[in-house]
Amino acid sequence: MKLSPFLLKNFKFTLLLLAGLILGLGLTSCEKKKGASSNEANTPASEPIIIGVAGAHSGDLAPYGLPPKHTVAIAAAELNKAGGVLGRQIKIIAQDDVCKPGIATDVASKLISQGVIAVIGHICSGATNAALSVYRGAKIPVISPSATSPELTLEGQNPYFFRTIPHDAAQAIVQADFIVKHLKAKRVVVVHDKGDYGKGLATLVKKELESKGVEILLFEGVTPGAVDYSALIRKIAQANPDVVAFGGYHPEGSKIVTQARKRDIKAAFISGDGLKDPSFIKIGGKFVEGYYVTSPADISTLAMTIKVNEQLKAKGQEAGNFGLQAHAAFTALIKAIETSKSTKPEDIKTALMQNKVATTLGEISFDKNGDVVGSGFSVYQVEDSKFKQLAW
């Protein structure tokens, strides 16, 4: 761009002109602000509502932290376009905690000093736990899309903490509930494959069942890949349970149920998401018909989820493991602000617990501990060689 010769020759004049323009801009914006603050008296503040997004946005665990940041940004932009909430715009401040507890506390202090009214995050359980000690003091509502450690909500020491992801013991609780309420079982055999996942889940299921007064007849581990399990099958037949709960993966699961059905054991079988694999049905054939499996609910067909996925795709981003949970957290938070007509922590907290919100995870709410209700694990049953989601 060429400046006109006149302006170049009269350098002083140009400077003056520029100064005048800048001053003028400042004046107009001042004027705008004045108008806005005068508005404040009638309706709630029209300054933006600030919401923090904290998590690992760099480093090894960034793949967990970035999708939540992206989905919240998309949701906020959409909301702002539609006029915001309570007539105010939303401003998102993202902070990176690299999933380190030490940094997470600094991030929390920083967000509080920047005036956030709520935080979506943090991502890792350890970092979340550390940051909560800071938020607790300032009474900032925190909704994590991904921290699954059961302690965060179970101890009740974090009244302003919520999460849109079920905690680690949730699957075991769903299984135990289903066994007791739906299958009405009194006598249960628990079998596992001695592995971290299988034994861990089986132990939790056993604990839950015992607390509900169910009799555990056997608690046994099998060696994956062993020649056959007929001795164990006979032991199960001898114990004559109502239900067999197996913790492990599909190869052992199909082997055990096949041998059990051949031995004419009529007990219902139930397992975790380790069995929800097409090859389980392919290999087990008719012997796995009627098998119950708990697994995360299928949300890929929800209209809202499809829309968010498309919005992400248009930007070359993905929902990752926790993106949809973060989107749901944002939706629930906005709804809470809207219904309580307030940005005060107590009001938001109460509204979060009362509301039922349609989100990318389906219709969710929160229980008194802050754990999500309505999202998480569903029970499926093998029917006509397909996993069919049960409503119970």
Partner: protein
């Protein structure tokens, strides 16, 4: 209650017998090869696994042709035995024969190499997933036998194993090739001087052992209903344990070792916990080796210098 207890005992006994028969069939392959050339054939478990895949293919082809259950079983069994024998022959020629007369460690390493090679080969040409294996044995309900329920497949596995083992004993005792095998076992040089074709007999030993493993593979795969590339690993280790338990090199020892191992595992599961199945099995192994270092029926030979 006491009749109940007896029935439970009997059923565990049947489980142990079934498992033990399979261990015995495979242990025979280890012990025959060890007896004749003093080598642990670590690729034996893989021959078992490949035989299961051959049986699956043959059974699939037969059922497309619309044959009956019994003919499918026999054809699958024959195909697997012949194929496994061919693998046994080839493995010996490729991995062990060129190393005969070298240090004892060299064939051991090539055996491990062969085992890894075969497993990877099956992953590449077949699949790394589990595949379902059809039930080749006619399905009828469990029936009561001596007061305990037994599955027909279990009974068949035990019966076939007994028949195969008796045939093997007769073969070793009375046939010309069997006598040649025993002669080589005693003194390879002397047998050679007396006109025994040592290379041929060693090949025959590998082929016989592999065919026995194939019988075990078809029976148990049909019983369990699924196979993958890794099924030979644990079975191989257990069968090797059985061979050592019975006295490696001794054919009746392998049969006995297999049965004892199978029964121990079954009773450990039934009366204690399946968590401790392997603990009991291997404790027994240690105990027997302390009391009889050469195994139950093994004879300790002194190395001649």
């Amino acid at each position: 209650m006491s009749t109940d207890g007896f029935q439970y005992f009997l059923e565990l006994f049947f489980s142990g017998l079934t498992r033990g028969s399979i261990y015995a069939l495979i242990a025979l392959g280890y012990t025959m090869v060890y007896g004749i050339i003093g080598l642990i054939n670590f690729a034996h478990g893989e021959v078992y696994m490949i035989a299961a895949f051959v049986g699956l293919t043959a059974a699939g082809a037969c059922s497309i042709m619309g044959l009956g259950t019994i003919s499918i079983l026999i054809i699958a069994l024959m195909a697997a035995m012949i194929w496994a024998a061919a693998y046994g022959y080839t493995i010996e020629k490729v991995a062990y024969s060129p190393l005969r007369g070298s240090s004892r460690l060299a064939p051991l390493i090539s055996a491990i190499g062969m085992s890894i090679f075969l497993r990877e080969y099956v992953i590449l040409v077949q699949t790394a997933d589990f595949v379902s294996f059809p039930s080749l044995i006619f399905e009828i309900a469990d029936f009561k036998f001596l007061g305990g329920y037994i599955q027909p497949t279990e009974m068949l596995i035990t019966l076939v194993s007994v028949v195969v083992m008796v045939t093997l004993f007769l073969f070793m005792g009375y046939s010309k090739s069997g006598k040649a095998m025993r002669a080589i076992e005693q003194d390879q040089e002397m047998a050679r001087l007396l006109g025994v074709n040592v290379d041929k007999v060693i090949s025959l030993t590998f082929m016989t052992g592999s065919a026995l493993a194939a019988v075990g593979a078809i029976l148990i795969s049909s019983h369990i209903g699924q196979i993958n590339y890794n099924i030979g690993f644990i079975v191989g280790i257990k069968a090797f344990t059985a061979a050592v338990l019975g006295g490696i090199g001794s054919i009746p020892g392998a049969a006995l070792g297999g049965l004892i191992l199978g029964l121990t595992e079954s009773f450990a599961t039934g009366y204690v916990s399946s968590d401790y199945e392997d603990v009991f099995a291997f404790s027994l192994l240690v105990l027997i080796l302390i009391l009889r270092p050469a195994g139950l029926l093994g004879t300790s030979t002194q190395e001649k210098v």
